[in-house]
């Protein structure tokens, strides 16, 4: 399978990123962005040590991020391992919050396709609304694009009604041009969302990588009319970063993509920073973490 190589100049990309980061988002536009950021969050816990109690805590935070102020929206989804999906689904049953599950031998993807498909089916049966899969990076880097494509297509099928996010693990891909190629590949093969990282290695989401992926989505839409979503994950800890990403989405894709249906943040500690910024905007006072729950 031959993939088009789009030439990308990394210095030029960085310059566009710098311009985007120089946007100054204040007052009403900042509050609007913070609201959006919360509604776009996938609160995540993906540790070997995730007990039932840990998952319960996360779901509670998802439903009630901060009770001191009215009109704080709830997040878009929680993201857990497949064997915690059922519990999460139960706790969140009366809310609008989705349950996303990682699958396909997350995070490495180093297993047979059969096992990975079973992993997906298990998560779907347990009630997952969304599946976050990983691509086979080794195959990609050795040029076996056909294999990577087939895997995604079959996993998409196994997802049934659940929507599929394809994690490219951009930190392992080595160059922006590879990121672009992997993005195009994933979308051709049926991804509903393309996602940067598992969050288990460094670097995770970076602004140049996200820019390239948003451009890929824009061009794919131009070619096919399909609207694919995007999720940066890992390393997004501050509201400032989240808002910069929102500026990027607005200026590359347009306001149509500024919705949790098409853009998510994969984050855990981001929520409290967004809440602190929110309260600061409302009260004028810088906040302390002591006043925000740290589940």
């Amino acid at each position: 399978m031959i993939l088009d190589r789009i030439p990308i100049d990394a210095i030029g990309v960085q310059e566009r990123v710098d311009r985007i980061c120089s946007r100054s988002i204040k007052k009403e536009s900042k509050l609007q962005a913070l609201d959006l950021a919360l509604r776009m969050m996938d609160l995540t816990t993906l540790e070997g040590s995730d007990s039932a109690g840990k998952v319960r805590q996360l779901c509670n935070k998802a439903m009630h991020p901060y009770t001191e102020l009215p009109n704080i929206p709830s997040v878009a989804a929680v993201c857990v391992y497949p064997n915690r999906v059922k519990l999460a689904k139960e706790i969140l049953k009366d809310s609008e919050i989705n349950v996303a599950s990682v699958a396909t031998a997350f995070p490495s993807g180093m297993s047979s396709l059969e096992i990975k498909l079973d992993d997906v089916r298990y998560a779907v049966e347990e009630g997952a609304d969304e599946i976050d899969m990983v691509i086979s990076r080794g195959a990609f880097l050795s040029g076996d694009y056909a294999l990577v494509y087939d895997e995604i297509a079959q996993i998409k099928e196994a997802c049934a009604h659940a929507h599929l996010k394809v994690i490219l693990e951009t930190g392992e891909l080595g160059s922006l041009e590879h990121v672009r190629m992997a993005s195009d590949l994933a979308m051709e093969a049926g991804a509903d969302f393309i996602k940067t990282s598992t969050g288990k290695i460094q670097p995770a989401a970076t602004m140049p990588v996200v820019l390239v992926m948003l451009q890929a989505i824009r061009d794919f839409h131009h070619k096919t009319g399909k609207t694919i979503g995007m999720k940066p994950a890992g390393g997004i800890r501050t509201s400032k970063q989240a808002i910069q990403y929102l500026v990027m989405v607005k200026e590359i894709l347009g306001e149509r993509w500024l919705t949790p249906d098409l853009f998510r943040f994969g984050a855990s500690s981001l929520a409290n920073d967004v809440l602190m910024q929110w309260v600061k905007e409302k009260t004028g006072r810088y906040q302390s973490l002591n006043y925000f729950s740290n589940d």
Partner: protein, 487 residues
């Protein structure tokens, strides 16, 4: 459900910034009194409001300034130690860094360029030029091997309104480094940062007369050019005025450097990184409102990718914010003056008359000042007026080409020769096309990049001489053969 998300105004604070309402001239280390009998107004182009008033230097004033410069030159500056000159220049650089924000705000208030540009580019780069040339002051022997290097004397310098403080730095830094003294005339519409700069010179203790400032309109410049006490004239501005200056100095044994107009070609090959190439266009012609002599104002795009490039460009243009220069989110600020605004409009009208099609950004632009929307003119040809002549505004003409040779020929087919840009993924093509382009600057896969170490200047009617780099020293020295060195 999609939302509408607009950026709120993010005004840069101005309450820490100080400037006078009325200014005199700066001669022999001191400000003269503002003279209401020969004053001129300077407006804020974003609001059309009066910002401050200046004194017009007349022939007597110019004479006083040149005499002060001559005195400083003869008494110590021209013969003193290079390391001392270097230390003064380092002080200037450092203090510009310390006062950077104030200078940036004043630059935007006075000239109309967005605060983000003055803050992130103009002011830091001005400081960098002083820093670079400070280091040359005691190393001139390395710049001119086997030559005995001496300064020229008194330099008259005339600068434009598009990068006021930066152009001042480009002129003053190398002149002083080489041991010359200076009489500088800023542009009539942008004197403020130059005047503040003279206050800075007082604060760092630069000896009297080394730098003198005469404000005024074109006439003041003429007095300076015609003064017999200058050894050199350095001018940045239009080709028309440049030619007049050349005529005025003919036969008078005065050296000159001229940085004049341009009509740069921006060449996009089909194998270019298209997204970055489109971003580069924004750099090349829309930032600084297109008031850039080396602007890439003629897009030459290979036919196979032309439609896609235009589409991407229009999408990018839709995200450009035209507005108040002091808003941190503004991408395209105010046009410098009513005159310039009229000129730009006139050219676009001519373009339409000659059959061009016009695309402009939609969205709000302020009505309070001089503003012009970023504009694309398609359906033009090599002979169109808008393709031949420099517009000096945010207007890009669009032409296609098919072969590399065609691109080169079209790019060179102009009396100008300041800068061109090449976008391609192929290294050998960069070197090949670059070596064929007749311009003093070739930008490959980038545009409008400046650095004090990088020489800048034009071929043909874009001027002569270079500013920046080692080559930027040559216009400010006299070279004699060094008999000992020639073994």
């Amino acid at each position: 459900m999609p939302i509408h998300w607009e950026y709120a105004h993010a005004p840069e604070s101005t309450d820490h910034v100080q400037y006078e309402k009325q200014y005199g001239l700066f001669i022999d280390g001191a400000f003269t009194h503002y003279d209401p009998s020969k004053s001129f107004d300077s407006l804020n182009p974003a609001t059309r409001e009066l910002l401050y008033q200046c004194t017009q230097a007349d022939e007597k004033d110019v004479d006083a300034a040149v005499k002060a410069a001559r005195k400083a030159y003869e008494e110590h500056w021209g013969s003193g130690k290079g390391s001392t000159r270097g230390k003064y220049l380092y002080r200037i650089a450092r203090m510009l860094q310390e006062r950077a924000r104030e200078f940036a705000v004043l630059e935007s208030l006075d000239g109309g360029k967005p605060i983000r540009e003055s803050r992130d580019i103009d002011i830091p780069l001005a400081a960098a030029y002083f820093f670079y040339y400070a280091g040359w002051a005691d190393k001139l022997a390395y710049a001119f091997p086997a030559k005995k290097v001496t300064p020229l004397g008194v330099c008259g310098q005339i600068i434009p309104w598009n990068f006021p403080l930066l152009m001042l730095a480009w002129k003053i830094a190398p002149a002083l480094a080489c041991g010359n003294t200076v009489v500088l005339k800023p542009a009539e519409t942008t004197s403020l940062t130059a005047l503040k700069f003279c206050e800075l010179l007082q604060d760092i203790g630069l000896p009297n007369g080394v730098v003198n400032l005469i404000t005024g309109p074109g006439q003041t410049g003429e007095y300076l050019v015609n003064h017999d006490g200058i050894d050199k004239i350095a001018f940045t501005g239009s080709t028309g005025v440049g030619k007049k200056i050349q005529q005025s100095i003919a036969g008078r044994n005065i050296k000159s450097t001229l940085e004049l107009g341009g009509k740069g070609a921006y060449i996009i090959f089909e194998d270019a990184s298209l997204n970055e190439a489109v971003e580069g266009i924004v750099n090349a012609i829309f930032f600084n409102q297109g008031h850039v002599c080396c602007a890439g104002s003629r897009l030459l795009v290979q036919e196979g990718v032309a439609d896609r490039v235009i589409e991407l460009l229009k999408q990018r243009m839709a995200t450009l914010i035209v507005g108040d220069p002091l808003d941190k989110n503004t991408d395209v600020g105010a046009i410098n003056s009513q005159n310039q605004l009229n000129t730009i409009q006139r050219y676009v009208d001519i373009g339409l008359e000659e059959g061009a099609e016009c695309f402009q950004c939609e969205g709000n632009i302020p009505s309070s000042g001089f503003y012009f929307r970023p504009t694309l003119l398609t359906k033009v040809s090599q002979s169109s007026t808008v393709v031949q002549e420099e517009i000096f505004g945010p207007v890009l003409t669009v032409q296609t080409f098919r072969t590399t040779q065609e691109a080169i020929d079209k790019a060179n087919n102009t009396p100008y020769g300041l800068a061109n840009g090449i976008w391609t993924d192929k290294g050998s093509k960069i070197f090949h096309v670059g070596s064929q382009l007749r311009s003093g600057v070739v930008w490959s896969n980038t545009y409008n990049k400046f650095d004090p170490t990088s020489p800048f200047g034009g071929y043909k009617e874009s001027g002569k001489g270079r500013e920046g780099g080692v080559q930027g020293l040559a216009p400010y020295v006299h070279l004699e053969s060094n008999v000992e060195a020639e073994i």
